[in-house]
Symmetry: C2
Subunit: 418 residues, 2 copies
DNA sequence: TATATTCGTTCAGCGCCCAAACATACTCGT
DNA sequence: ACGAGTATGTTTGGGCGCTGAACGAATATA
């Protein structure tokens, strides 16, 4: 939930050490106040002061500015609940700011508008196999979706603070280039630049580009409602199996943006050969292909969430072969999760992608394996739960990314309209 | 090398968000200046200003205070190397502060004094099997070593800023209690409190207690001289195999202080049964016991670095059985390292403990396995190297821990003598 | 010797937080 | 009904730390 002394910027992290001055103090304390109002529900100024440790005077001036910026609103006098002058409650103003998210995937794209409270206010999707289509064709259509989303936000009266784009591949964060997207067959596509050039309406300035797994993990972190769990691993299942590692509220992308390749952990050395060259990779014995094959499901698309629909039907009616297949996948997954837990000691594992709907059948075998393999299982009970955001985690994370920057620096830019 | 905007305190990390005021600005900038002087060698005030982005005026006042605190010294006028008035060079004063470290292990204890530059200025060790001995007996003797170290620091004119204690077991950082040390047979020992009560001389106030693997990783990070690598994994070999994970200059202890249990990663499902209950754990096929057994070495102690001496002798003369044993361990280790790299995308792996002296024989088979199993191996070359600090990594990390706190807040406490 | 250049210091100015005092609004007791 | 008590929100003076510009100092160049 809360990070270090000064909340690090989500997208642009200048790791070069910078000098600090009073304006940073203001920035930090403004973020602190806003976070307090956001997290601890409606509160009076005095309670915010007590909660943050700031003076009432300081909170007063900061709140004034936050109200002027449209991020916080006074909810009128609270019903007097004791002696003394009752305070005026402050609350986050959800429509005070919003973000637009775009996810480009192999089986279609989605765009959405998310407000400051993390609520999805607009959503538009196009399905269809994108493999083999040129970047130009895809991005042109995607830009139309973003246009619509920006317009929808305008109609809702929500000022858009930025646009996040999630893509299935390796991303150069600094240059904002999609270096490699194997499933799309793209290399070195300047996604942000190209999208902008196809824009019809005027788009707000900050745009961020990131890998979809990363943004999905961030989405879970930011709006997934984990309560206090700021360390978790999001295990995403599809044809491949990936993981987004969040420790102490920080996503770990790895030194070069690789990482999270849970799928190629060795689980069964005598298992089938993997496309990576090794044997017994987790994704060979827990990925979508394996499950469908084992379960005897043949009449299904080979990717995406639609692929599990027929499987779910069989599971629901108790098809033994299907149940056994998923159980076996759950056990394999347990080996991977056990490794994660042994290495990171995370207390929460979130199952996303196709694993989310399969959770009821995966849960028990997975836990059993983890219990057997994790040294500290007795002391540190592991929470395993399905993704709260489901398939939309990445879009939501993308849309919310600019809002995180805003929350970290609420008074940095100009104010906004009502 | 450099972390986020405000360097987080190493030992006590108050994760509750705090308000910030001008004193934090000062703290941060003082740390920035000191870090600049430390890292970028002797520099004039003006160059420090240019390098940090602060004003010359600000740097001037901060440097005055750092000199008053004894942490920085003027090295006289530099040889004029161009037009304009030459600047007076500033340098870190190594004897401006020091830390005392104590490591308690199964096969003895070590105490040392480390100065601000990371140089070991005093070292005293006692060998001997500590298993089964009572905490009281051990801690009483250990306190004597610390007494000596404190006295030695005094004789050297180095003001001691704190004492770090490394123990082989599970530590409660907040309560400073050693919860469980299986190899020593201890439970719930208030190490810091007890040590203090046995002290003869006066010990400086901050004492920190941590797991030896964690402190070894921090030692490598702080004084191991990695250059710019602030993300790495320290793989420590002994009877067990542990890992210290450092990402972006931050050590990850895990939610509850477990974690880094690389030894119980599954490597060979059909392998021997492990004491943890599972089969094929890494430490069963790469740990000290396995290597010695496989190599046919019987006349050796069962733990510590002494245990590898006879093995090293055989390796040096090309004993085939020994070479094969280590090679096999290297391959198993490669599987574990590959998993680490896949999950974290670290670019550096440091081999410590018994793996450090065995590095020349482990390196090649380990790399081969990693190359085969890691997806991104082609793009992201992995650096594997032996620990720079060797067996003393944990003591050095322990001794340096208080100094990290000092570097993060150089003007927090009182000044010191010359 | 005069000028340009760089270094280090000094001095107002400003922004921010804090502490304390003040005005406000409501409850409680008589 | 009315004052005492309590909690909220605002105003004011003070301190601290950074900035920017100006100034003396030390050296190279013309």
């Amino acid at each position: 939930m809360s990070t270090g002394p000064i909340p690090p910027s989500a997208s642009r992290s200048l790791d070069r050490p910078r000098p600090t001055d009073q304006s940073d103090v203001r920035r930090h304390n403004a973020a602190l106040v806003l976070d307090c109002v956001d997290a601890a529900g409606p509160l009076s100024r005095a309670r915010v002061a007590a909660h943050t440790g700031l003076t009432r005077a300081t909170v007063g001036t900061i709140v004034d500015e936050l109200i002027a910026a449209g991020l916080v609103s006074e909810k009128g006098t609270r019903a007097p609940s004791g002696v003394g002058r009752p305070g005026t409650d402050l609350a986050l103003r959800p429509e005070g700011a919003g973000g637009v998210g775009l996810e480009i995937n192999v089986d279609g794209y989605v765009a959405s508008v998310v407000d400051l409270a993390g609520t999805v206010r607009h959503r538009a999707a196009r399905s269809g196999d994108l493999r083999g289509r040129t970047a130009t064709a895809v991005l042109r259509t995607a830009a139309r979706l973003v246009d619509d989303a920006v317009a929808a936000a305008y109609d809702l009266g929500i000022p858009v603070r930025g646009i996040g784009v999630a893509v299935p591949g390796l991303v150069d964060l600094g240059e904002q280039v999609l270096r490699l997207a194997p499933n799309l067959g793209w290399t070195d596509v300047r996604v942000v630049e190209r999208l902008r050039s196809y824009a019809v309406t005027t788009w707000p300035s900050p745009m961020v580009l990131d890998n979809e797994a990363n943004l999905a993990a961030l989405g879970e972190l930011w709006v997934g409602g984990h309560g206090s769990a700021d360390s978790f691993v999001l295990v995403n299942g599809d044809v491949g199996v990936g993981a987004g590692v969040v420790l102490d509220g920080r996503l770990h992308r790895g030194t070069r943006g690789f990482g999270g390749e849970l799928g190629h952990l060795t689980v069964a050395p005598d298992g089938p050969e993997c496309r990576c060259g090794a044997r017994g990779c987790l994704e060979q014995v827990a990925g979508l292909d394996f499950i469908l094959r084992q379960a005897g499901v043949r009449d299904a698309p080979r990717t995406g969430e639609d692929a599990v629909a027929p499987l779910l039907a069989r599971l629901a009616r108790g098809d033994e072969r299907a149940v056994a297949a998923v159980r076996q996948a759950g056990e394999s997954l347990g080996v991977g999760v056990a490794a994660l837990v042994n290495l990171f000691d995370v207390e929460t594992v979130v199952l996303g992608g196709i694993f989310a709907p399969l959770f009821p059948w995966l849960d028990e075998p997975l836990r059993a394996v983890v219990r057997r393999r994790v040294l500290s299982a007795a002391w540190a009970p592991l929470t395993v739960r399905p993704s709260a955001l489901g398939r939309d985690a990445a879009v939501i994370g993308a849309a919310y990314a600019p809002l995180r920057d805003l929350l970290a620096d609420p008074l940095g830019a100009d104010a906004s309209v009502a």
